[in-house]
Symmetry: C2
Subunit: 382 residues, 2 copies
């Protein structure tokens, strides 16, 4: 949690400054959707801003596949980068920490401090690895609910998130309709499609076919680094857009080589960028968590789970704004719009906004006055 | 070449039936665009139909990245599948072998019989592997030109091809304007874009990071099979479309497992399909050729090479029809249309057609009456 006194100057700059995480430990058994059980779990989380007396100003942030609980501010003065949604969250920002108490936790199954495949299985004294139960989007939400209970929070002003975070947001409104006042899912889908499953499967194969994976039983600091980097490089392309990549990299080369200086070394800027993405990812992310989370995405299917989208949404009490992005081809705008159309057919209070940005799926993470305005207005709405 | 007598019955069925390849061997040194030289090369090719006396009925087919010279008919009665464009080429088909003499050769650098990285370097007595010179689209065309000279062909009724084949088609019209009467490139681009380079680079990394690649010096029948399968699985997704995949596979599962029966084994149909694609590919394709051909694609840039597309096309004498496909996101329709617009600005005889099909980049390979009609009419045109 941020220390308000140290941060006065930063606050005036609209920055949270130093923040730190907390580990919530639940010692109650946790029953997964799959029927498996673990004796307890911990969730690492951060909070920003102050919980008001009525405990009515909570905004819960749900993170995407490879993000974590650290969504704003910096954890140390040495941090070169702030949290992943620092442009959106902070004093005076669209999710205004002067008004809201923001909570974000690393998902169950994660590798950034929450219980996941790298955690010690108390029953064996060894890391869970593939003995970790399959975790669904629903399980992630259920674990977060326990954290909220622990914090004494029984009303959520809003739940906000993009991509896999958007799936959790939808699940929140379905599972706990009377708790959630507003949901703001973006760049998401109600049902993982065939192409997205296909890309995830290639990533999983790259990891699982890496000899260092060893059926998931790799040691700490080693493991299927090559496979995980390949998976990340490929996935990263799906987060961008053809046009966005052409604007950012085009056919620019790193050297001033003539066209006749061919080699298999890195040459185009985009190659260099991807290799960097792959390499930096393997230093911060666990391969088994990547397998579990991509499976959580692939099995997400509200239509299949509830019979139809209308049925999935029939108990909804939240006010809804879904935001899609024109250039998102991983979770295209049509799939976002479809969510709202189903809610409207179910008689719910739902709106859809589509933002024209060229940054592909990752558009929800970029600076965008249009997006900021929508988020701010929606959080302000009655 | 097909034996007309054996094939009378098949001919009546509109099928070529048995065809066989021929190896053309050039013993003249070949100078690559890169400045490298090899003492000679061979190209494996097939022909269908009969060359008329005036030698004026030749249609040259250029193949895509992972295809080969065998584009129609069967090579043996045991063949389970005919050549890759059998629906397009044959007696009475859009590229009608009753009228045209069709030639298709495996590209220089290939692994289906033409000289490539797996061929013996006469100077060392060992396979070229990474000593094989970088091969450009222009080099592929130049080698094919030698085959045509050998066959005594000095006029091409048309050059036809999709994807990398389309790049060769464009290069043919630029390099040999007085030889080429018609060109029909489809599902292609004048310039490999950033996203396509990125996907190719991930495929190359999957191969080159596979320990079995051994800097390209793997032995026959072994090699980076895992990496090559990963590269193929990923690339295969880029040949399809989101909608096409949803229609073909959706979220169908292979077993009737309940949703709670989670595992990392193959479960969704699309996963099974991709694994099959990966496995069958590694039994027919050489990993080093994959590296060379993807680089040939990546360095293809007519704008960069000639200063502008208009300049690239200024010497053109061929009649042109470019065909793009609405759902092709690897080489989107815009890039195909752009080629024709540049030709029109350069005062050339060029038309563009866009076909609405949901099969993505591979649309040019599927059965389509619209496509057939366009090809037939264009080949008939004056």
């Amino acid at each position: 949690m941020n220390d308000a006194e140290d941060n006065v100057a930063l606050d005036e700059l609209g920055e949270l400054g130093l923040v730190s995480y907390v580990d919530f430990v639940s010692r109650e058994p946790f029953l997964y959707e799959s029927g498996s059980e673990i004796p307890g779990f911990s969730l690492r989380y951060e909070t920003y801003g102050h919980l008001n007396e009525a405990k009515s100003n909570v905004v819960l942030i749900s993170h995407a596949l490879t993000a974590d609980h650290h969504c704003a501010g910096i954890n140390s003065l040495q941090d070169r980068k702030p949290g992943w949604w620092n442009n959106m969250i902070g004093p005076g920002k669209p999710i205004d920490t002067n008004r809201f108490f923001v909570i974000c936790s690393n998902c169950l199954g994660g590798c950034q401090g929450s219980t996941g495949p790298t955690s010690i299985n108390p029953e064996t004294g060894r890391p869970y690895q593939l003995e970790f139960p399959f975790v669904s989007i629903r399980d992630m939400v259920k674990a977060q609910k326990r954290l909220l209970d622990h914090l004494g929070v029984s009303k959520l002003h809003a739940v906000v998130g993009g991509s896999m975070g958007g799936m959790q947001v939808l699940q929140w409104a379905i599972e706990y309709p009377d708790l959630v006042e507003r949901i703001l899912p973006m760049a998401t889908t109600s049902r993982q499609g065939s192409q997205a499953i296909a890309f995830n499967e290639v990533g999983r194969q790259a990891i699982m076919q890496d000899p260092e994976w060893m059926q998931g039983n790799y040691k700490e600091n080693v493991g299927p680094r090559v496979g995980l980097a390949i998976a990340r490089m490929m996935a990263h392309i799906t987060y961008l857009s053809d046009k966005g990549m052409d604007m950012k990299f085009g056919r620019r080369r790193r050297s001033k080589n003539s066209d006749t200086n061919f080699s298999f070394d890195v040459d185009f800027e985009v190659e260099s960028y991807l290799r960097y993405q792959g390499q930096s990812f393997i230093n911060r992310f666990d391969a088994n968590t990547y397998l579990y989370f991509t499976k959580a995405l692939d099995y997400f299917d509200l239509e299949g789970q509830y019979g139809s989208l209308e049925k999935a949404f029939e108990g909804l009490q939240s006010k809804v704004l879904v935001i899609g992005f024109t250039s998102d081809w991983l979770f295209p705008p049509e799939g976002n719009r479809e969510i709202v159309l189903a809610m409207l057919r179910a008689g719910k209070d739902a709106s859809y906004a589509e933002i024209a940005l060229d940054f592909g799926h990752d558009s929800f993470l970029v600076e965008s006055p249009d997006l900021y305005e929508l988020v701010r207005a929606f959080l302000d709405s009655d």
